[in-house]
Chain length 213, copies 4
C-alpha cells in the first residue's frame, strides 16, 4: 500500500480558502498592472489575507503567480498525441502556442520570466516544472522518430526542439503577436523536413541547392 493513512496532522489545519484566495488575487493583479502590481502587500489586501500568512507559505510574490500558473495549466502536457509523429508534434506545439497566447496565461508567464532574472528559486522552478516537461514531451516524439527511422540517425534533437518551442516564448517576451495555426503548421513542417533534408549533407549537394540559379 503506497497510499498512506491520512497521517493524523496536529494543530490547526491549513486553510484552503486562504490559499486559493491568494492565488486568485495574485493572478488578477498580475493580469492588469503587470509584475509591478502583484506585490505581496497588494495580494494580501485583495485576498483579505494577512501578509504574515503569505510569507509563511510563499517566499515571494512571483512564486505565488507561478503556483497559480501551474494550477491553471495542470495536466496540460499529458494529453495523448495524435496518430503520427508530425501530428503529435503539431499538437504539442499548438498547445504551447495556445497557452502562451492565452490572455490569462501568457502575461502571467511573462511576469514570472521577468522575476526569474533576479530570483534563482523562480528560475529553477520555472525550468524544472515548466520548461523541462514541455521540451521533454516533444523531444521524446522526435527521439522516437529517429529510433523508428522516420528521421535520420544523426538528427540533432536539441536543435530541432529549440526551433519548435522557442518562437512562442520569444514572441511573448518581446510583446509580438502570436503565430496563427497555419504558421504553426508551417513551422513544424519546416523543421521536420529540415531534419529529413539533413541527410544530403555532402558538400556537393549543399552547393547544388544553395547556388541553384
Amino acid at each position: 500500500m503506497d497510499d498512506k493513512q491520512p497521517a493524523p496532522r496536529r494543530g490547526r489545519p491549513r486553510s484552503e480558502t486562504v490559499r486559493s484566495a491568494v492565488l486568485t488575487a495574485a493572478a488578477e493583479l498580475a493580469l492588469r498592472g503587470g509584475p509591478a502590481a502583484a506585490t505581496v502587500e497588494a495580494i494580501a489586501k485583495r485576498a483579505e489575507v494577512s501578509r504574515t500568512t503569505i510569507y509563511k507559505w510563499w517566499p515571494s510574490a512571483a512564486s505565488i503567480v507561478l503556483e497559480g500558473l501551474y494550477e491553471r495549466v495542470r495536466n496540460s502536457v499529458t494529453r495523448p498525441p495524435g496518430s503520427n509523429s508530425v501530428d503529435a508534434i503539431t499538437h504539442h506545439v499548438k498547445a504551447l502556442f495556445g497557452f502562451l497566447a492565452d490572455p490569462e496565461v501568457g502575461p502571467l508567464l511573462r511576469n514570472v520570466i521577468a522575476a526569474s532574472a533576479s530570483d534563482r528559486a523562480i528560475e529553477h522552478a520555472l525550468f524544472e516544472q515548466w520548461i523541462t516537461p514541455r521540451r521533454g514531451a516533444i523531444a521524446a516524439i522526435v527521439r522516437d522518430a529517429v529510433g523508428n527511422g522516420e528521421l535520420p540517425a544523426d538528427t540533432d534533437v536539441e536543435v530541432a526542439v529549440d526551433a519548435l518551442v522557442s518562437p512562442p516564448y520569444y514572441r511573448l517576451v518581446f510583446g509580438m503577436p502570436t503565430l496563427d495555426d497555419a504558421s504553426i503548421d508551417r513551422l513544424v513542417q519546416t523543421v521536420w523536413q529540415g531534419c529529413l533534408g539533413q541527410v544530403d549533407q555532402e558538400p556537393g549537394l549543399s552547393e547544388l541547392t544553395t547556388h541553384i540559379e
Copy 2:
C-alpha cells in the same frame, strides 16, 4: 542642411563624463547582482553622480542599462554578410548567439528583458532598436533568396526567421546553456532545408516519410 549648427545652448553643457560614468556603473552593477542590484541609488553612488542628475536624463535604471547595451554592440548588425545566402544567415545567427552568450552582454539583455515586462518604454525601445534590426537583416536575406528562386515562393519568412532567431533568447531567458557553433550550423541548415522541403508537399512523399514503419 539637416545637421544643424551645434546650436549655441545657454548654460553649462551636459557632462559627457557623467554620462559614461553612469553607463559604466550601471553595467557593472547589473553584471553582478542582476537586476535587483542595478538601482538608481546604487548607480548614483558607484558613478559618484547625484541621483537628481540621473533622474534628469534617464527615466529608470533599466533604461540606463539598455543604453549601455547599445553602446556596447553598436554597428553589430552592419557587417557585410558572406557570399551566399546560407553563409550570410549563418553569420548573422552566429553573431546573435555570440552576443547573447557574451557574459558582458547576455546578462544585461536579460535584465532589460525582465524590465520590459513592467515598463512599456523599455519594451518599445527593445523591440524597435534591438529586435527589429536583427530580424530585419535576416529576413532580408531570406526574402532575397525567395526573390532569387533559391527558396520556394511560398516560403513563410516570418516563420523561418522565428525559428532562426528565437532559440538564443529562449536559452538566455531560461538560463540554459548556449548552443555551440556546430549546432548553430545545424539549426540554419535545418531551417533552410525545411524551407526547401516545403516544395515537395505532395501527399505521396509526405506519407512515405512519415508513415514509414
Copy 3:
C-alpha cells in the same frame, strides 16, 4: 473556615512543572537582554511550553516576571526587626537596598517597573504587593516611635518613609550604583535625627545654625 477543601476539580490538573519552567525561563531571559528579551514567544521556547498555555495563565510577559519576583523574595518582610527603632528601620532599609542591588532581583524589578508604565494591572499589583507591604513595615515602626515618644508627635510619617525607601528605587531605575552599608546607616540616622530635630524649630536655634556666618 476560609481555607476551603481542595475542591475536587475534575479533569487534568494544572502542571506545576510547566509553571516553574515558565517562571524560570522568564527570569533568565529578563536578566540578560532586559525587558525586550522576555517576550512570551521567547519564554515559551525556552521553557519548552506552548504559547497557548502561557496565555491561559498569564496576561503578559511582565506578569510572569513579576510572579517570579514574588517567588524569589517571599517572606522577605516578615523577619523580626532588631531591638530598638533605629536598628529595626536600618534592618528594613538595608534589606530593601539589598534586594534592589541583588543582580538577580534588581534588574527584574526594573523590568516590571518599566512595564507598569503601560500596564495598569502590573502597576496595581506592584503597588499592592510590593510597595505597600514594605512601606507599611517601616511606617509601623516610625508610627510606634511617635507613639512611644521616641519621635515628636508632629512627625510626618509619610515624608520620613519616603526619604528612607525611595533612594534605592531611584538608583535602580536610573542605573546608578547602590549605596554601601555605611551610607545606609547614615541615611537612616540622618532621617531619624531630622525627625527629632524638627522639635527645636524655634527661630533662635534655626537662625543660629543656618545664618552662621
Copy 4:
C-alpha cells in the same frame, strides 16, 4: 570670535516644521495612551510626516519623547536660588516635585524612564542630561554649606541629595500621589536637621536619643 559664520550648508535645509510637528505629536500620544501609544508609526501619522524622515533624525520613539521633554523644561535648573541654603534647596526640590507632578511632564518622564530599562542610549541621555544637572544643583548648595560651616564637615552629600530628590521619582514611577508643599518643606528640613544632628555621632549620645523614654 566663537560664533562662526552661518556655515554655508549645502542641500535642502532641515525643516523645522517637521521637527516640531514630530515632537508635539509624540508628546500628545504619550500623554494619552502611555508608552504603548507613542510608536514611530503613530507619531508619523499624527505629525503627517514620513516614517523614513523620523528614522533619519531619531533612533526610537522614546528619544523623540525625551527630546520634547527637554524642550519643555529648558532652563529649568538655572533659576537663581533664594538667599539662604535651606531656602535654595527648598526651591530646587519644590521645582523638581513641580515638574514631576506636572501632568504634561510627569507622564512623559515616566515613559522615558520605562524605555530606559531596555535602551542604553536613553538611559545614558536621561542620566547625563536630566539627572546629573538636577542632582548637581542641589549637591552644590549642600557642599557650599559644608564649606561655610553651616553643615558639619563629615556630611555625606550623596546621601543627603538622595534623600531630597528621590521621593518625587519614586512617587511618579509607582503612580503615587505627589507630596504637597508643606510636606516638601518638612522633607527639606528633616534632611537638613538630620545632617546637623549627625555631629553627635558618639555611641553614648546616640543611645541617649534613641532610647529616650
